[in-house]
Amino acid sequence: MASDLALADSDLLGAAASAAKEGRTDEALRLLGEARLNSPSAPGGYLEAGKLLRAAKRPGEAEAMFLEGLRRCPKRLELLIEYAWVSHYASAWPEALERWRAVDDEFPWHPAGSVGVGRVLFALKRFDEAEDHLARALERFPSDPHMSVTFAQVAAARHEWRVALERWDVALDLRPGDQSAVAGRGVALWQVQLEAENAAGAEAGDGGPAQRVPHGPVRIERAADPQAAALVKGFESLGENCEFGLVQRRFGAEPLGLLRWTYTSPESLARLLEARFAGLGEADAVSLHRTHWKEYFLKDGRFGVTFHTWLTQDVADEEAFRVKQAARLRWLRDKLLADLGEGGKVFVYKAHHGATEAEIGRVAAALRAYGPNTLFCVSLADAPGAVGKVEKRGDGFLRGYLSRLNPTREGQWDIPFDEWLALCRQAADMVEAAAPATAAP
């Protein structure tokens, strides 16, 4: 009898899996309900139903399903993991931390709990704790690629770039081609090189370090495509770095924009938006720096944002130049504020590795507070099938996915221009379809 039930369960689970694969979610859930009725103490019916509900964006029901499964089948690893993922995906960090700790405590021989705890501590910006926890966990699981990636992210978040570089190398040894590790290594390499350049410049008396200076000159070959130019011109870049600005240049669009040529972290951007840019560009907060390739950069000390000037020729009066450039920033700031207040624009933010969903959500909310604007946040695809997809995350909030971010692992620029163009086309169509709540670019 027991073996018959097991077979029956297996048949039902198999049939449910087939139905789910064919998009027949209700049928799959019905079959899984039958499996649970037949074998209420078998975990499969709860586990697969919960996963299906989560995929169908029914997180409350998914959570209830996993909880019911845990009540019937206590201390099942797979159910505990999925139960933790529910709160993790919802960014309910205190709850997620508790659930991952439960996985770790119950199954110390499995890395999932340790990885989960590390990731949540990272998301909560409790970097010292994350560092300690992951260092200990890696002694138990030295070959876990997920743990290695999070360990590298912690070093990057603490701006310990040489350490981050070493850790990204370890992560890539464990899983070569991991795109988040490739991107993370590129950023770390760029920062390490920059630190070396600044140190050399300081020794030579070049005028001091330029912190968070993005990159050297990048040459872009322009493509003659008026339609593409018109399309990308309709979006405004808010950072994180110059990548989207270079995409616009590629297609012949040269719109003015305060943050088009900056390095702006998600946190800086959120603070800027929430403060309505008050004080940005005031002369007493803007400092001038020069890189080893002789380009002048501006840094706004109030918000920690760095701006290209693209000027490499010597300026006779650097103080007058600084004051003039500060005025330019204020002018651009006022234009951006006017656009934000008018509503209806689509703003692109390229989120590099390490940007959490909570940080991006904060930016989206801050943008929306001005009016019916849209945040189009573009980041690295976490699966090959996600490349090129644009999804709606809420009113005025779109997410898009690329195959790679720039700068690359080697600190070079290899921008996927066609991917960017395709994402912009989709985003523009989605925004237009959603009008008049959010106007098309």
């Binding site: 040269e254 719109p255 003015l256 000037t309 005025a327 330019r328 002018w331 234009k335 656009d339």
Partner: protein
């Protein structure tokens, strides 16, 4: 405010921005015609025009400017 006068006054702004006295403005002139005319220079030109004429351009209006002629006409319309 005649367009002739605007061309004359705008020429002074261009000379100041590019630190050259040899630029002669034409209606069909674009950024491709003047060495070093990038988005930063464009900002300086527009800031100069706004200050000179007491006007303000929206970014939509600025995005629609394709030539010096477009800029002159836009100034004429706003300063009228």
């Amino acid at each position: 405010m005649t367009e002739t006068r605007i061309y004359s006054e705008l020429t002074e702004i261009f000379h100041d921005v590019f630190m050259r006295g040899d630029i002669v403005l034409r209606p069909d002139m674009t950024a491709d015609d003047v060495e070093g005319w990038d988005s930063f220079k464009m900002i300086e030109i527009i800031m100069g025009a706004e200050e000179k004429y007491g006007i303000k351009f929206s970014t939509k209006e600025l995005d629609g400017l394709g030539s010096v002629g477009d800029l002159v006409q836009a100034i004429a319309a706003k300063a009228a």
